[in-house]
Amino acid sequence: MKRNNSIPLQPILIAVAVILLILLVSWIYRNMKSNSIEITADQEIDITPQQIQSIKDIGEWEFLEISDEEMVDTTRRGILSDDHLVRIYYGTMRLGINLKQVETGWIVPRGDTIEVTLPKVGLLDRDFIDEARTKSFYESGTWTAKDRESMMRRAYQRMLQRGLTPQNLQTAQQNGEAQVRQVLQGMGFKLIKIQYKD
């Protein structure tokens, strides 16, 4: 009787198959851990050029800066519910004198003495709201450009009321006097007389 000495193939094949399967499953498992899915919308703006509309030489001497933030809200009454919009506006009022508005002879030197008549301190630029910095605080419902413009006007008026006070104008005037004096002293004048135009 002939004895069969060959190694049985079946267990070897099963072992190889199991090893391959383990490798396959571990590969799938490893990669499945990094699987992710999300629905996104890009929030970045497109790159667009900016256009210089005008270049102007100005001469504004600022003595006081008032930075203000105003929260403005608006409500629209509805049958079932009300709509609200709350925004925060930012602005900086600059008080000082406009050197383009001075009259001839506003500075009169007499030896080491100098007499200066400054124009009245006022708001240097009526466009002082930085609308692009506005923050939307709360919104429900749909709002139009007209609503936003109305809110902006209210913020503007409130900032004027808060910033353009007699006290701030007086502070600006006092600081203006000190600053002009400092510059003239730097120029070598010893006696300086400063007055504001009535």
Binding site: I88, D125, A132, G186
Partner: protein
């Protein structure tokens, strides 16, 4: 044999599936209110504004919904057919260049024996003093299945547009214009003090490179630096 292999595969997959289900959900979302308190700040200063630039920009945003992710180590990014949203926001901004005179002293002034006066001015700086959104001319295009742009989204795009204008300041040449205009403002002032125009020299610290100009842009307050 194939049957055995299939059984082992199924068992392993079941084990994997069970272990995935048992993972605890630990993610928490913490929302904070980042709105700063409403304040009024008053600051004394001495700045001579010499140059004003009016800038116009149209901020555009193309809002496309995308399905993003990775599957078996393969990244994918598919545009979803859910309809697009587009918005164009026109805005105007005012940039002003100024010279800070608060530290001006006799160290900035040199007088020669032949009656000349040489004034060395501090570096001009640039600030955005105002911006205006042209609300009436904002154009929106919204797909049928998409919602309108919210106020929060629009203000976010406007802030980005503002930041883009500030970033472009070094390319606008405002610093050199400010230097020229400083002389135009100060020379008449000094002539009133008794000096002849040809005896007045206004100079600045140095020639400015791009890096210098970036350091001269006044970011105003911390909100804009983010």
């Amino acid at each position: 044999m194939i049957r055995h292999a299939l059984y082992i595969t199924l068992i392993l997959l079941c084990c994997y599936g069970c272990s995935r289900q048992q993972e605890p959900m630990t993610e928490t979302v913490v929302k904070s209110d980042a709105i700063p308190p409403l304040v009024t700040q008053i600051r004394q200063c001495s700045r001579i504004y010499t140059t004003e630039y009016k800038i116009h920009k149209i901020i555009t945003h193309d809002d496309v919904i995308r399905l993003r992710g990775s599957f078996l180590a393969q990244d994918f990014n598919i545009r979803m057919p859910l309809g697009d949203r587009k918005i164009a926001i026109p805005m105007d901004a005012t940039l002003k260049a100024y010279i800070d005179m608060s530290q001006f002293s006799e160290r900035n002034v040199e007088k020669t024996d032949d009656g000349k006066i040489i004034i060395t001015l501090p570096d001009p700086q640039v600030i955005m003093t105002s911006s205006k959104i042209d609300q009436k001319n904002i154009k929106e295009y919204v797909g049928l299945v998409r919602s309108h742009f919210t106020d929060a989204e629009m203000t976010n795009y406007e802030r980005q547009g503002r930041a883009a204008i500030i970033e472009s300041i070094p390319q606008l040449g405002i610093i050199s214009t400010a230097q020229e205009n400083a002389a135009r403002v100060l020379v008449p002032l000094i002539t009133q003090m008794g000096y002849r125009e040809e005896d007045i020299y206004i100079q600045f610290r140095k020639e400015y490179g791009l890096k210098d100009i970036q350091s001269l842009i006044n970011m105003d307050i911390e909100h804009e630096k983010k």
